[in-house]
């Protein structure tokens, strides 16, 4: 048993009180936080007793657990409360889950990003449950006049074996609420888990399949107006003039004006990235009226010049970002990437003597890989509700970084932080796009200006043309083999527009005697941001395709080739700063090898393998590809995952399946190109996302049995599958793929 000090997140435990008048607390937020519970569950209680900020217990035993983090489809609204429920020892069918509002006094790290919600909440959420359980036990011990350590719990019940006494949590809740919060509590041993590791269906499932209002775009408030913005038609441009004379008189239109999202002298946070700071805004009664008025605007745009933006990095360091002027083109980007790749980059890591090793090599393999800008394309376009009055701001909608954006809004409106209230809705996808909440600031500025509640809505075209893209990337790899086909040197030079995708300390660093990693970046005025598994989402596919080609040149089986390298990293690692654990890395390769029956060939089935480490987790894929009418189709994906303890298997499998489909889709079909600063794709007739008939027919997911605390899962299954796809396509067509999306290179049978 682990004993843990409740000082972590202590703030949430300071207040422990009985909250009388159930009516007050029963006014659940509009956001449908109160889930329709399973049929056999209890009805709502008359009174709630709040034992700490994470949970409250009704007199009839019903438990409400707050889910602190933004739900973007990664299942935290189900899996985070499971951690609380586990340590509370509550019967899951008597649990209802409510989305917590942003409240930094109670909750820590209310953020969806970096696949860290479960990992970072692993202790604090369990502690919240354990603390409440301890208080219930203390209340029972006091009431029954028995020693505390003789009071046990099971499935929402308290027991004292000696006296035969028992009570439900509901019966003891009132007394427990007046118990002093313990200074430390015990957490369960992993082997005693009854909820963690069992599959619990999505707590919002019923609301989703019946179309209940869950998402930001569904939010409504009395007197609410609709706002839309118009942005420049391309990057490198800004507003010159507005003629709104016709639009202004159209039906349902309330106002038309321009806004600056961020003030010029504002030092931006890392999540304040936007593409266009000067926007034209149309406000009206209904969406269709506003859409029509937008079309009647006569706007002129002009190019902007080079300028600087004051900002800060994720770690808080002040940085000045140079934004170059000019209208960019994808054809120019391609040339630029080749130019940079031909020049020396910045050496980030060097082991041994790569130059010497390359010069004495029996065989040198050199290949270049590239991938385009990507738009996140969350199915729910950007939107936010804001109601700003003289002394406060109320905001509701989909945001991955409420804690950060609260500061941006407060600074922009000139309000103290505590006067800004942010409620999180369920989000129609995140993928990193909603880390950057400029649309929330825009909504607040618009509401302030029109002095009314407003919902800002982006169209798909607005959303896809609005920047904050995955950067365009390039990687050049070289490998040196000796006469016995041993990998004696490895060289990667990676860069991008405008940032590098390199992880210098990841595999095969540590597994090769002579190793050099260089990086470069080229400036651009196209704004970029994190996109599901940032940087890994390109470099994994490039590296894993290259290793496949090197293994082939060495005459080795691609899995065995990787395992041999990992064996070196396990037994005698090169360098001291290797990011990954080679044993766990090898573990997923071994597992996928077994589960896919690797080495047993099936006629007309073409296989590719890959493995990658990111967000503290390890994932390996084997893809079985078939050619049908000269078109490739993924018959089956075999996937092995080591993400430590799996909290909610049904959802974890869903995430791995989805990540695999998403990765195959982006590598094969998706990409954003530019002509004179303007994106060439603005909606799904031009921008391809993988569709049902292109998706794998079958996906088999296997988890490594592990006692390690949970690591990331939302992102890790996404990057490696791109390499497995490229390698399977090669087996099918005899042609290697170097440029994403592969569809542009032609993917016919060779």
């Amino acid at each position: 048993m682990t004993t843990i000090k409740t000082g972590i997140g202590r703030r949430s435990f300071l207040k422990s009180s009985a909250l009388a008048g159930g009516g007050l607390l029963l006014s659940f937020s509009w956001l449908g936080g109160c889930n329709p519970s399973p049929k056999e569950a209890l009805s709502l209680p008359k009174e709630w007793f709040e034992l700490n900020g994470y949970l409250k217990i009704g007199e009839n035993g019903l438990v409400t657990i707050m889910s602190p983090n933004p739900e973007i489809g990664q299942n935290v609204k189900t899996s985070m409360p499971m951690l609380v429920a586990e340590e509370l020892d509550v019967d899951w069918k008597n649990v209802i889950v409510e989305q917590a509002p942003l409240n930094t006094n109670v909750f820590t790290r209310q953020l969806a990003g970096g696949s860290q919600s479960i990992r970072q909440g692993w202790k604090s959420l369990r502690m919240a449950g354990a603390t409440a359980r301890r208080m219930l036990r203390e209340a029972a011990a006091k009431s029954w006049n028995v020693p505390l350590d003789e009071v046990t719990t099971e499935a929402s019940m308290l027991y004292h074996k000696g006296s035969g006494k028992s009570a439900s949590y509901g019966e003891m809740a009132s007394a427990a609420a007046s118990i002093t919060v313990p200074k430390e509590v015990e957490l369960k041993n992993n082997k005693d888990f009854t909820i963690i590791g069992t599959s619990k269906n999505n707590v919002d499932g019923k609301s989703i399949v019946t179309g209940k209002p869950l998402y930001g775009l569904d939010y409504k408030k009395e007197g609410m107006l609709i706002a839309m913005m118009v942005q420049p038609p391309g990057f490198g441009m800004k507003l010159k003039s507005v003629d709104d004379s016709q639009a202004r008189s159209m039906p349902g239109i309330k106002d038309i004006f321009t806004i600056n999202t961020y003030k010029d002298d504002y030092a931006r946070q890392w999540c304040d990235v936007d593409a266009f700071n000067d926007l034209v805004v149309v406000v009206g009664n209904t969406t269709w009226e506003v859409m029509n008025a937008r079309k009647a605007l006569k706007l002129e745009w002009e190019q902007f010049k080079d300028h600087d933006i004051s900002s800060s990095s994720f770690s808080g360091d002040k940085v000045s970002i140079k934004v170059p002027g000019g209208l960019e083109n994808s054809t120019r980007h391609a040339l630029l990437m080749n130019e940079y790749a031909a020049k020396p980059g910045k050496v980030v890591r060097k082991d041994g003597n790569p130059d010497a090793a390359f010069s004495k090599a029996a065989k040198v393999i050199e290949r270049s890989y590239s991938a385009p800008f990507l738009a996140h394309n969350t199915m729910e376009p950007m939107n936010f509700f804001a109601h700003v009055t003289a002394d406060k701001a109320e905001l509701v909608g989909p945001i991955q970084t409420p804690e950060f954006m609260e500061k941006s809004v407060a600074a922009r409106l000139g309000l103290p932080l505590e006067k800004v209230d942010i409620q999180m809705t369920r989000q129609g996808g995140g993928f990193g796009r909603r880390l950057y909440g400029h649309f929330l600031v825009e909504a607040a500025v618009i509401s302030q200006k029109v002095n009314a509640p407003v919902k800002l809505i982006y169209t798909r075209e607005d959303d896809m043309s609005n920047g904050v893209y995955r950067p365009a990337y390039h990687a050049l790899y070289r490998a040196a083999l000796d006469a016995d086909n041993n990998l004696i040197a490895f060289h990667v030079k990676a860069g991008g527009i405008p940032e590098s995708p390199l992880f210098a300390d990841r595999f095969p660093a540590g597994a090769v005697e002579n190793y050099i990693a260089e990086e470069w970046s080229a400036p651009s005025n196209i704004s970029v941001g994190a996109f599901r598994a940032p940087r890994s989402n390109f470099i994994a596919g490039a590296e894993q395709s290259f290793l496949d080609e090197v293994a082939e040149a060495a005459g080795k089986d691609p899995i065995q080739f990787r395992l041999d390298l990992l064996d070196r990293a396990i037994k005698n690692p090169v360098g001291e700063k290797n990011d990954y654990e080679p044993k766990r890395y090898a573990g997923v390769l071994e597992l996928v090898k077994t589960k896919s029956n690797w080495g047993v060939d099936t006629p007309n089935v073409f296989r590719g393998v890959s493995a990658y480490f990111c967000h503290d987790s390890y994932v390996a894929h084997v893809i079985d590809l078939v050619m049908e009418n000269d078109k490739p189709r993924v018959q089956k994906v075999h996937c092995a995952v080591d993400c430590g303890i799996v909290v909610n298997p049904v959802a974890a499998i869903n995430l791995v399946e989805g990540g695999s489909v998403d990765g195959i889709g982006h590598a094969m079909y998706s990409g954003l190109t530019f002509t004179n600063g303007a994106p060439d794709q603005s909606n799904y007739h031009q921008y391809r996302l993988i569709r049902h008939r292109e998706a794998p027919r079958e996906i088999d997911v296997h988890f490594v049995k592990s006692d390690v605390d949970p690591t990331g899962l939302g992102e890790p299954p996404f990057p490696p599958v791109m390499g497995a796809l490229a390698n399977a396509l090669y087996k099918a067509s005899g042609k290697r793929h170097y440029q994403q999306p592969f569809i542009t290179e032609g993917v016919k049978r060779g």
Binding site: I72, G73, N75, S199, N201, N202, D204, G205, K206, I208, V209, T210, G211, K212, P213, L214, Y215, D218, K220, P251, T286, T287, W288, E289, N292, N377, T378, M379, E380, P381, R426, Q427, G428, G429, G430, F431, I457, R460, E461, V650, A651, N654, E657, G658, V661, D662, G665, N683, Y684, H685, L689, I690, R691, H692, R693, E694, A695, R697, E698, I699
Partner: protein
């Protein structure tokens, strides 16, 4: 502006709107039925799928003036208690991730099964290819449709 008399989920609705207003925005802004989602506005993603006389239609490009006396069914009206065999199958397979596209997926699946109660894998894939799921839940969608097909035909 013009007056329209619609039948939505079995209920008569009278409203006064611009005839060019897509049914999607009539449902969402005027009738407060927000289960039907906005995804692309050009019939490319399927998030806005509804039924007109039982047939799947993209409501984002359908002007309200074209509805006439056809019965409109939205996700909210698919079943009284949210227990249509397709909805049940969706829950059984725990299909949704973010969930945003799923109302449209379900409406397409229901229309498919109505027309063809025992679709092949290929028929499911082709019919459902008009509905994009960025989370990539396609394999579960297919499994859920097969489960629903069994229930319907049992």
């Amino acid at each position: 502006m013009a007056t329209f008399n619609l039948t939505v989920n079995g209920k008569k609705q009278e409203l006064n709107v611009d005839p060019s207003t897509p049914l999607l925005w009539v449902l969402r802004d005027h009738l407060n039925l927000v289960g039907t989602k906005f995804g692309c506005g050009m019939a490319q993603c399927g998030a806005c799928t509804i039924h007109l006389d039982g047939k799947a239609v993209r409501s984002c490009i359908l002007p309200v003036s074209a509805v006439g006396d056809q019965e409109v069914t939205t996700i909210e009206g698919l079943s009284e208690n949210g227990d249509h065999p397709v909805q049940n199958a969706w829950l059984e397979h725990d299909v949704p991730q973010c969930g945003y596209c799923q109302a449209g997926q379900i409406m397409s699946a229901v229309a498919l099964l109505k027309e063809n109660p025992t679709p092949t894998d290929e028929q499911i894939e082709n019919t459902m290819s008009g509905n994009i799921c960025r989370c990539g839940t396609y394999t579960r969608i297919k499994a859920a449709i097969k489960t629903a097909s069994k229930t319907i035909n049992a």
